[in-house]
Symmetry: C2
Subunit: 473 residues, 2 copies
């Protein structure tokens, strides 16, 4: 129990707040009246609190204006170092987490890690206008809870659009999520138990490896290549193993990081293989809409006739990263996914859904996507050329048919992890290949995103990376 | 593999979409041109698709206007019944999930289950204006990803406000979440492993029981009462058990459903007990700001001197349920929580955070809360009086010092689960006591929320419930 007198307790409370910066130098200190009211203390106690803090040199009384916070003296003995939580990322993929955290801490001038398009490429003005309109038309919106599964109109629009890629999603069985990230979490939580084994492509999206480890799932990797995506022979072998593979997560269209697109025949065979082995197929279609061609790619869902597939997608790459909208269509696991969504975060806030619905139901949406695809094609070409120009000889770069990502293979011996750390120091961020697998086969690969218009500054950054690599040699 | 000719495959695809209602009767069917473009089929295939569907009687050609969808004939043999997923809620608390789902399916006229305040009690117009302003001031907002931990200004405001309840949260170590729901998920995921045991109050918030089961955690219940909250003697006994209790989740202020407020001496002792037994304390302060009195209640966090506590809270009850904003302050588990948040759903969308910051930093926020508290006090009193008037003799009702919830004890023999189902049939929703515990001790309790102004319609609904109960006798 606290045995200090009340005024000392309160003074210490505020001292902590000042030392940690919650109350800042130069700011006004809470008034005597406020303290009396909020802490239910007497006038004399409140005054004593201020005296105590003045005595410690952290408050300065200014006549007729109140008390102001002064720079606190350094503590006589240095504070004990903040307890380092060495276990901070255990269970959330130590390697991926550390790389992401290092990036967060650095000052980034050129970001080649960001898979989104540059903000100005999104139809922001139009979406803003739709938001303002939706707010005006729904005056109670902010005061009411949204349905767990999301806005039904948006779900209808998503279901209709899917038809053009020959994909049949039932609007009633779509759940709107906080991005594909939440969709993937829900898909996995719906069909697995901790300790189950889940297969993924190799290399695969690093965020997925975090999700899997944080859900206590074991991971098996199936090789994938930039031409056709996942290797079906290797998959078939794995599925024949005695160890059951509970689920398989595949990005059939514009795989991250490879950019591969599976041929239709492979898609059909993949779906069949999974059904035969009672392995639930989880499709991540985050990038499908960014394919260069006008003709939509078929989804795995199209080939699924046995309700053995969960479809996940997102608007964060194609339309508005700031809205965090994704969705999941879980077929026979729908009820389970909906209740898991309720238990994990409740229904998503409604405003973004209304604004996006209003936009997506106009023809402007397709027009906008057409234009975006053209721009991305060009940006990828320019970046690819720059990499081949500045990087060491014999560097290989993928040539994906859409999206924002290039996968770069350096000649053996180069370390992309070293490049990552050296890049951070000069404000350039890339993603090292190592974080796209639990194995160690991608140490000389890296992912470079080209969602931003190609400028001299970007070319210069590519040249700097090239120079850093040449210093490695 | 699909061996049907291409036009039949496409026709079946669209037939499914029509039968399931994704394309609706009376609507225009996709044009020949669109089909050629999207499915990369020849003119003749596209025409054949339409012929096939006309032949099946689901398309009707209107001259110079295109094809329109007609009511499809019923299938010659009835469709096999949709596969019932009997396991839909296994692992997400079957009982709570079924009750919530039954409510979702019913048509509710009077909702006594909803713990939020009525929409018109929230400062919606002001928040809307702040939203519009924030959109205008941040033209790139919707096109950029938000930081994982949330908006720093909002975190600063939350940290400062906490000072008035003598609670020291470091803004740098706050993470903004999708409501307290996500905060509780993250807290539990940060400190437990599947299979661990976690203690809760009994009765406790039903959503918490879902979260615990869905995370594969075992639950022990500690009795709590409406006067002082959790029973510390019972807790001490439990903590002495050989089975380690990894974490304890407590709502010290305005417990859901009891409305209890722990005395400061109990709070201090509780914190100490948990520290002694290495049981992590998770504080859920969702309702604290709705206490009747001007003087803020102290939090458990205030009494925690050993960094053994995770603080969770929410703006969804106090300010804007439509924004889904909550937060978590996890002390030494901060880095872990931040990375789990990244892996579970990424940073929350930024617009709501900007609008709420703009409002919360003005004095209007405290003024608004003062007014809200007064209104709630009155609504609770009116509801309490009505229940005592209409319900069976010897019904007891709590008299909490804040918030929106009343906990009602019926005389033994009455069944609140039966009342729940009978109520749904007439459009009145309550929450039966059974879902507030994994045990069976609350079958004659129910929770009634009074966030809405008391009207004759509400009084009538209370009378109807009373009549339904009297029919039980
Ligand atoms: C393949 C893939 N899936 C999922 C995600 C996460 O998407 P969201 O931002 O919609 O959560 C990403 C984002 O980088 C991704 O690349
Ligand atoms: C005690 C308690 N904790 C948490 C929650 C969930 O809060 P939120 O809506 O912020 O997710 C609720 C909502 O009913 C609650 O009553």
């Amino acid at each position: 129990m606290n045995t200090l007198p009340l005024y000392r307790q309160l003074a210490n409370h505020y001292l902590d707040a000042i030392r940690s910066g919650t109350l800042k130098t130069g700011e006004r200190f809470p008034s005597i009246r406020l303290m009396m009211e909020k802490h239910a203390v007497s006038l004399s106690t409140a005054v004593q609190v201020c005296r105590e803090l003045e005595g410690q040199g952290v408050l300065e009384a200014r006549p007729r204006s109140g008390n102001y916070i002064r720079q606190p003296e350094p503590l006589p003995h240095p504070l004990p170092p903040a307890p380092q939580d060495v276990d901070a990322y255990v269970g959330i993929h130590q390697q991926v987490s550390s790389v992401l955290k290092a990036s967060q801490r650095a000052t980034i001038k050129v970001n080649f890690a960001n898979p989104y398009c540059a903000a100005q490429l999104y139809p922001l003005k139009t979406l803003q206008d739709h938001m303002v309109k939706a707010l005006r038309q729904n005056p109670q919106l902010l005061g009411t809870t949204a349905p767990t599964s999301g806005n039904l109109e948006l779900r209808n629009i998503l279901a209709r659009r899917a038809l053009t890629s020959k994909t049949h999603l039932n609007a009633e069985k779509i759940v709107i999520t906080n991005g594909a990230t939440e969709a993937l979490n829900l898909a996995l939580r719906a069909v697995t138990q901790p300790g189950d084994t889940v297969a993924v492509e190799s290399p695969t999206f690093h965020g997925l490896l975090q999700i899997l480890e944080s859900l206590n799932l074991r991971v098996r990797e199936v090789p994938a290549t930039a031409d056709y995506g996942i290797n079906l022979f290797a998959l078939e072998q794995l599925l024949r193993d005695p160890e059951p593979i509970r689920a398989l997560i595949v990005m059939p269209n514009l795989q991250n990081p490879l950019g591969s697109i599976m041929p239709d025949s492979h898609k059909a065979r993949l779906v069949q293989l999974c059904a035969e082995h009672a392995t639930v197929l989880i499709e991540d279609d985050t990038y499908g809409d960014l394919v260069d061609t006008e003709q939509p790619l078929s989804t795995l869902k199209y080939w699924d006739h046995s309700d053995n597939l969960i479809y996940c997608a997102s608007l964060n790459k194609t339309l508005a990263p700031g809205m965090r909208l994704g969705w999941i269509s879980a077929g026979r696991w729908h009820d389970r996914v909906e209740m898991l969504k309720h238990s994990q975060s409740r229904g998503c806030e409604a405003l973004s859904q209304l604004a996006v619905s209003a936009f997506m139901k106009t023809p402007s949406y397709e027009r906008y996507l057409r234009r975006l695809r053209k721009i991305l094609t060009q940006q990828r070409q320019q970046m690819r050329t720059a990499i081949l120009r500045h990087f060491p000889q014999d560097t290989c770069v993928t040539e994906p048919r859409g999206g924002t990502l290039l996968w770069v293979e350096l000649p053996p011996g180069f370390s992309s992890m070293r490049l990552f750390h050296e890049g951070l120091k000069v404000g350039i961020q890339i993603l090292p290949g190592d974080i796209f697998s639990n194995g160690s086969g991608f140490g000389h690969y890296l992912r470079i995103a080209c969602g931003a218009p190609f400028t001299p500054k970007i070319e210069e950054a590519v040249a700097t990376l090239g120079q850093l690599l040449k210093n490695q040699a």
